[in-house]
Symmetry: C2
Subunit: 432 residues, 2 copies
Amino acid sequence: MSEKLSTSPYKGTRDFYPREMQLRNWFFGVIREVLENSAFDEYNGPMLESLDIYAAKSGEELACEQTYNFFDRGERHLAIRPEMTPTVARMVAAKMGELNFPLRWFSIPNMYRYERPQRGRLREFWQINVDIFGCDTYEADLECIISAINILRAYGADESMFTVHINNRRFFNDVISAIAGTDAEGSRKVSKVIDRKNKIPRNAYENELIELGLSEEQIERIDALYTMGVEEATDICPDSQGAQELRQLFEMLKKTGLDRYCIFDFGIIRGLDYYTGTVFEVFDNAPENNRAMFGGGRYDNLVGLYVKNAKISGVGYGMGDVTLENFLFTHNLVPEKLGSGVKVLVTRFNDVPYENYIQLAESLRAAGITSSVYLGSKKFGKQIDFAVKEDYTHVITMGGDELARGVVRLKDLNTREEQELSVDAVIDALKA
Amino acid sequence: MSEKLSTSPYKGTRDFYPREMQLRNWFFGVIREVLENSAFDEYNGPMLESLDIYAAKSGEELACEQTYNFFDRGERHLAIRPEMTPTVARMVAAKMGELNFPLRWFSIPNMYRYERPQRGRLREFWQINVDIFGCDTYEADLECIISAINILRAYGADESMFTVHINNRRFFNDVISAIAGTDAEGSRKVSKVIDRKNKIPRNAYENELIELGLSEEQIERIDALYTMGVEEATDICPDSQGAQELRQLFEMLKKTGLDRYCIFDFGIIRGLDYYTGTVFEVFDNAPENNRAMFGGGRYDNLVGLYVKNAKISGVGYGMGDVTLENFLFTHNLVPEKLGSGVKVLVTRFNDVPYENYIQLAESLRAAGITSSVYLGSKKFGKQIDFAVKEDYTHVITMGGDELARGVVRLKDLNTREEQELSVDAVIDALKA
């Protein structure tokens, strides 16, 4: 091999060196803590799944286009998971009889989507998934929204930094029917156009709606919904179940003081057909990250794709690590120091048998103190340089003289103070 | 869709339901704690890599056969990582000038190998990888072996349960040369036969060695090596660098009392050509798991595949989650209770406005107490059943009467004791 291999990671993926990994461990740690504190249980599934389970949701063409997919030697058409919902629906279906509903589940899987890398969007990413299965009423929707707010608050974010935009698909369909006189299928077609409202020119948007039979006056009435509050909007079709769900949810958000994080937004549709009730997206308020950080909603009966006559409702959301990381950096929510405290380098001299250093480091470790012996034979000054660069907080030196007297020298790299102590006293000093 | 999708995970992969996930979080947590305590830093890399980096190590044919590999739409030949060493070598090569050697790195990535699933071997697995880069001497080999022993000890394992089998590739080549008079290439060919010793019939083994020019007497002398201790074996070629490395390592293991976990084993070769010095495998002593749980060794200069004139030595090992889990269960090292303590279900009655329950649960959470409100409208008895099945330790009840008097009832599901307390007093009681 004379030609050298590339050192770059594959397009749209990232290498996590120790500093980046420390950041991830911190930020996933916060999420785990909040969710476990709210009695959510962690699960995980395989990285490879049958392509079927994505095709059943989004159609085979889209599933093929958006995923890394291939055939194994047994002619099984597999995909690297692009999302977690089909996996979790499959898992719930597989143990439906044994599980204890309502389930409160979360996962932080890595996944892949085949798309053009851009700000906030990569090919490999991690996605926090939170779902509640087996509760048909708004309380589960509320609980999901609360958990999302609590995660962001746990990072130190406040209502100036993010907003939860909420709508309801059932209400959406009913209000479109009320305004445009469409049936269910007609409302669905209108929703597809409205979902693309901000991505196509205004006249294209209008023309598509006109083609679906809407009048200009009806289009204006739909436009008006975008600036309405939840009361005014739901007054258009007050008897709609979706309108009632929306009002109930917003009333509870107000009573619990969480309304300061939330607004009603008729523009939130969530493209996928499987959403049936509440839908929401959390937006970063910073203009440079102006897109949904994460979103979700109620999707009744995905489990029915797997089990005949099953009827288990779900509500949940997914949160990507890339947009979340952008959010944290943009709002200065990443602590300067992520390290967890004391870290001791045992420096090494040639006049001391090596086993003494090993025993010293092992005694520190056994006492719960992070430590290692310097590996190599560089001069003392170089060993100190290494300690400083690698975020060691203390250095212990033990030369032949100290060994003979049963002591070591402990130096605090921050204060530069140095003291001579017995090994037991060093352990006590470092633990204090 | 009238045909239902399969609920099984893809062959050779696993679903991790909350109980299994709790087990994994515990056992990966122990590993992280031990390695961080020894000042190892965590890293990670992408799940997809260019197939090249595996082909460069093992040849294209083997790389294709053992991996899930495919072409992306840009005609890049990709593989799902079957191991971590090529990724970590690539990462070290990419930042060679900035990194602060010696590096002490670890990772716990998920990966895939295309093989027939069997006990201890699955298609999707996690592998703990520990590596030290940039230290050419035996101290780094020792440090790797110590970390492996410390991980197993942290689970409560002792020397009756596992053994570290150690050899040295340089010594292996030299002793084969000394016995059979082979040159480097000849010794390499002999090593390939010896590596398969336990997988082929004795006469096939002998015939292959005879074909390589060895006499029966030479084969007998090689046989004798399998029962020798390190001193006797290294006496055959005392001036070999490998022999000296082996003696130095075993001397230090003895002086630090770690020799009780270790034996010299001439049968440990580690098939891959890139190992250059110390090689070791950790065996589960239980007869039903009688295979290497994990292994590794010194591989000088893998970084050289990426960077011209680079010369960075490495030593490390990989430990699969499947064999490790078998080990822990076989030796009864998994604690019965993995949960982390107090978990409170707030039960729900219809005569109390829901916001009061939300506020109560949020107060508990803010105080660091795991809790959730029962989601649904089932009767009180069913809510208690749910709490018991889902490992809640306490139940709080607050009916209209309690609400009016500003109290709640706290029940300990273990002792069955119940007390009436103010919310503040409940928080104090649960935190104590």
